[in-house]
Symmetry: C2
Subunit: 219 residues, 2 copies
């Protein structure tokens, strides 16, 4: 029986290339999508066996789409095919329900094998990533479910974004029309939550998590 595959990536050229590679190796490319929302919608209609998915989908979040798909379609397995291979990306994808994680530097042969094994129910990870997931699992087992997801309040996120831009507390206070002491308080609580020690680390955190790119004013 043929395995139906769905390809999610915001690059049309990439989608076409992967679709052809898989088609030539006996898979049925049942659908493609360019962003997370479309992926969820189409996957629900098509019910592919494997969703081959990029994490970096321009604006929308690939991780959220993975979570939607794996919860709504328990028979569909998601194989992430991403450029990064970054520690956090891998763990987030796995937490969201991904069955495997391949970096885009993989060869066509590796890709084909990975899709086949994913369809068969085996978890597939690029060399090095499997150990990463295992290590994180152990750390979770040691510390029985405490932080790992320190969520910031809306105001803390506002302040964090401006701190990451290099503004001082007074400049941030002017923009948000509050006291600079309040700004400093938000900075402090953010530092505590993220277990960081100063604004530079805060800026690094914001940059690595893409918080510094988003627009601020929406009303």
């Amino acid at each position: 029986m043929t395995v139906s595959v769905m390809i999610v990536d915001d690059h049309p050229i990439w989608r076409d290339g992967v679709a052809r590679d898989l088609g030539e190796h006996g898979f049925e490319v049942a659908a493609t999508a360019a962003d997370g929302d479309a992926a969820v919608r189409i996957a629900r209609a098509v019910r592919p066996a494997v969703v081959l998915m990029d994490l970096n989908l321009g604006s929308s979040s690939g991780v959220a789409a993975i979570r939607e798909i794996t919860t709504q379609l328990p028979d569909t397995r998601v194989l992430v095919l991403s450029a990064s291979g970054e520690h956090d990306d891998v763990l987030e994808a796995v937490k969201a329900g991904a069955s495997g994680y391949l970096v885009k530097s993989a060869s066509v042969r590796e890709l084909v094998a990975a899709v086949r094994r994913t369809a068969g129910g085996d978890p597939v990870f690029t060399a090095g990533l499997a150990g990463m997931v295992l290590g994180e699992y152990r750390r979770m087992a040691d510390a029985p479910s405490d932080q790992q997801a320190p969520r910031l309040t809306e105001r803390e996120t506002d302040v964090l974004r401006l701190v990451a831009k290099g503004l001082t507390a007074r400049q941030i206070a002017d923009r948000l029309v509050i006291s600079h002491r309040t700004v400093e308080n938000h900075v402090q609580s953010t530092l505590r939550k993220l277990q960081l020690h100063n604004r530079v680390e805060l800026a690094r955190y914001a940059i690595e998590h893409g918080l510094d790119q988003e627009q601020e004013g929406r009303g």
Copy 2:
């Protein structure tokens, strides 16, 4: 006459897909390469009309490869096909000699048209990027070649790298075995040279220029 094209990208799947797309539209894919060094070496032998090139080649620098190719092969035009479309990436590529810049979210049709126009000698830029280059040109024309390359001393670079990691002046002083006041002075002169205002902006600068990734101790 057929246009010979060379494809440089560290993702085999991407290379194959692009090669097939171009092949089906009458281009001759004369060569492919996975990194900058190979690109320069092979391009010198093959002398393609157009080099279709990713900037993000894993370890090696795409910009350096562009510079090599365009200086050594004046008849070869380099069309960058990159994921980012970031301000600095575009400008660096153009400065290195790229004839055009396409983001990877382009369609196959756009890609084919871009390669054709690049071969014909027209500069090709994704919408929005052309204005970016023009704007930068104007800024250069306004300020008659003053800064644009503020070089830092060795010690300033050492300090900058550690500042970008989030270390305080005292921690940096301990590592470099100097007084923390001296560290602060290096920070100050760096701020002046780069026309920045605080350590967070310094960290952003270092991250954007890749200074924070390099190792520090080589002796």
